[in-house]
Point group: C2
Chain length 253, copies 2
Amino acid sequence: MNPEVLLSRVRVVLCRPSHPGNIGAAARAMKTMGLSRLYLVTPKQFPDAEADTRATGAVDVLRAATVTATLDEALAGTVFAVALSARQRDLGPAIGAPRETVARLLAEAGLGEVALVFGNETVGLSNEEIFHCQAAVTIPTNPDFSSLNLGSAVQVLSYECRMAAFGEKPPVVAPGVTPFVAPPATNDEVEGLYGHLEAVMTATGFYNPEQPGRLLPKLRRLFGRVRLERDEVNILRGVLASTQVRTGHGRKE
Amino acid sequence: MNPEVLLSRVRVVLCRPSHPGNIGAAARAMKTMGLSRLYLVTPKQFPDAEADTRATGAVDVLRAATVTATLDEALAGTVFAVALSARQRDLGPAIGAPRETVARLLAEAGLGEVALVFGNETVGLSNEEIFHCQAAVTIPTNPDFSSLNLGSAVQVLSYECRMAAFGEKPPVVAPGVTPFVAPPATNDEVEGLYGHLEAVMTATGFYNPEQPGRLLPKLRRLFGRVRLERDEVNILRGVLASTQVRTGHGRKE
C-alpha cells in the first residue's frame, strides 16, 4: 500500500493534555512526518494561541483536530490502537519496543484506521485507557531521566511511523499474530461487545458493578489479544442476545 | 564497549542557535536518551531563563555546556563528526539515513569522541561548517512540511543514538569503510593539516586566497573520505614541512 495512505490512517490521540504548547508541538511533529489526524480527549485548553505558536506551519493540523469527551470516541472506527506507557500494567497489553510496535501499527493500517495513544504530561495514561488499546509501547530512555516531553514522544513515534511506512520492506503484522481473514472489528464494535457482555453479566448476577474486581480488565485482555473480526463480534453478541431472550433479562423485553 | 560509555562520547553541537528555548529543549532531549555533552557555537543568547525552563530536569546539561567561538573548537579532540543537513551540498559528504549514520557514529565512538552537528534554526549549517564533518545525515520528513524543530531533530537523533548503543548487535563501522589500524587523527589534527596545506599552497602560488575557487573543499572532501590516522597526518605534515624548507617558504625560515 502507498506509504502516504498508510500514514494518513494513523491517528495521534492525546488524552487530557494539560499544556496547549504541547498540543502545538505534537501537531508540528506529526506534520513533519506526514501524519495529519490529531484527536484530543478533553484537553485542558484548546484551541489556544500558545498551541498555534508552537505548531508554526502545522496550524492546519490543529484546525482539523477532533476534540472528544472520551477515548472511545477518539478510537471510533479504528482497528488497532497502541498506548504509550512507561511501565507494564497489570493485565495490560505487553509493552513492545518502538520500532517493532510501530511496524505492526503500520501493518495494521493496511487493514483500517489505527491510533497512537498518548497520556497526560504528568500522569500518563490511566489503566482504563490502556485497556482500550491492543498493544503498548515504551520509548527507551535514560533510567536516571526519563522525562520525555509529550511533543518529543509524538516526534519519535511519528518518525518511526514514517521510517516504517517508507522502509525497504513493507510493514507486516508481527510473526505469531494471526492475520485477519475477514474484516477486523473496529474499536466501537468491540466496545459494543464489552458493553453488551457487561450488561448480560450484570443482569445474571455474574458481575457486580458495586464490586467490579478484575473481571472486566481480564475480558478486555483476552479479546484484545485475539483480535476480533467483525463477524466474530456479531456472533458473540448474538450469543449474548440469545441468553437475554432466554433469561428474560436485557433489551429484548 | 559499555553503551553508557559510548553515549558519553557523543557531543551535540548546536551552531549559532537563535532561540534559547531550543537550547533547553535540546538539553532535555539529550538527557532523556543518556547524552550529556552539549556544545554551543556562538549562541545568540545563553545562558537564558527560557532555556532553563524548557530544559526542566536537564538544567545540569545546560550548566555543563561548552560555549565556543568556532565549530572547530567544539570539535576539538573528536575523531568523527556528522552534520545534519536537509540537502546534499556540492562537494560535501554524502548524506545518509539516520539509522545507518548514527550506527556508524556509535561505532566511531568506540575509537574516540564523536559529534552530531546541528545548524541554525532558519539557515541550517553553512557549507563551510559541513565541510568540517566527515558524514552528513538527513531526517526523512514530509516533503510538503519539512520544518523539523531543532529540539525535535536533536530528540530523533539522540533517540537513534540510544537505540544503536543498546541495540542487539554492537555498532560496527559500515561495510566498505576501512577500519583504523592505528589511532585516528582528531579534528584539530586534521584541521592543522588543512591549515598547513593551505599555507604551503599559498606560498607556492598554487592556491590564491583572493580567488579560492573549489580547491579547499575538494581537499577536505578527499581527506574526509579517507579517515586519516594520526601517523598519516604527521607524515603529510612532514612532507609539507620538507617542501617549505626546500622552497624557502613557510615557517622553517
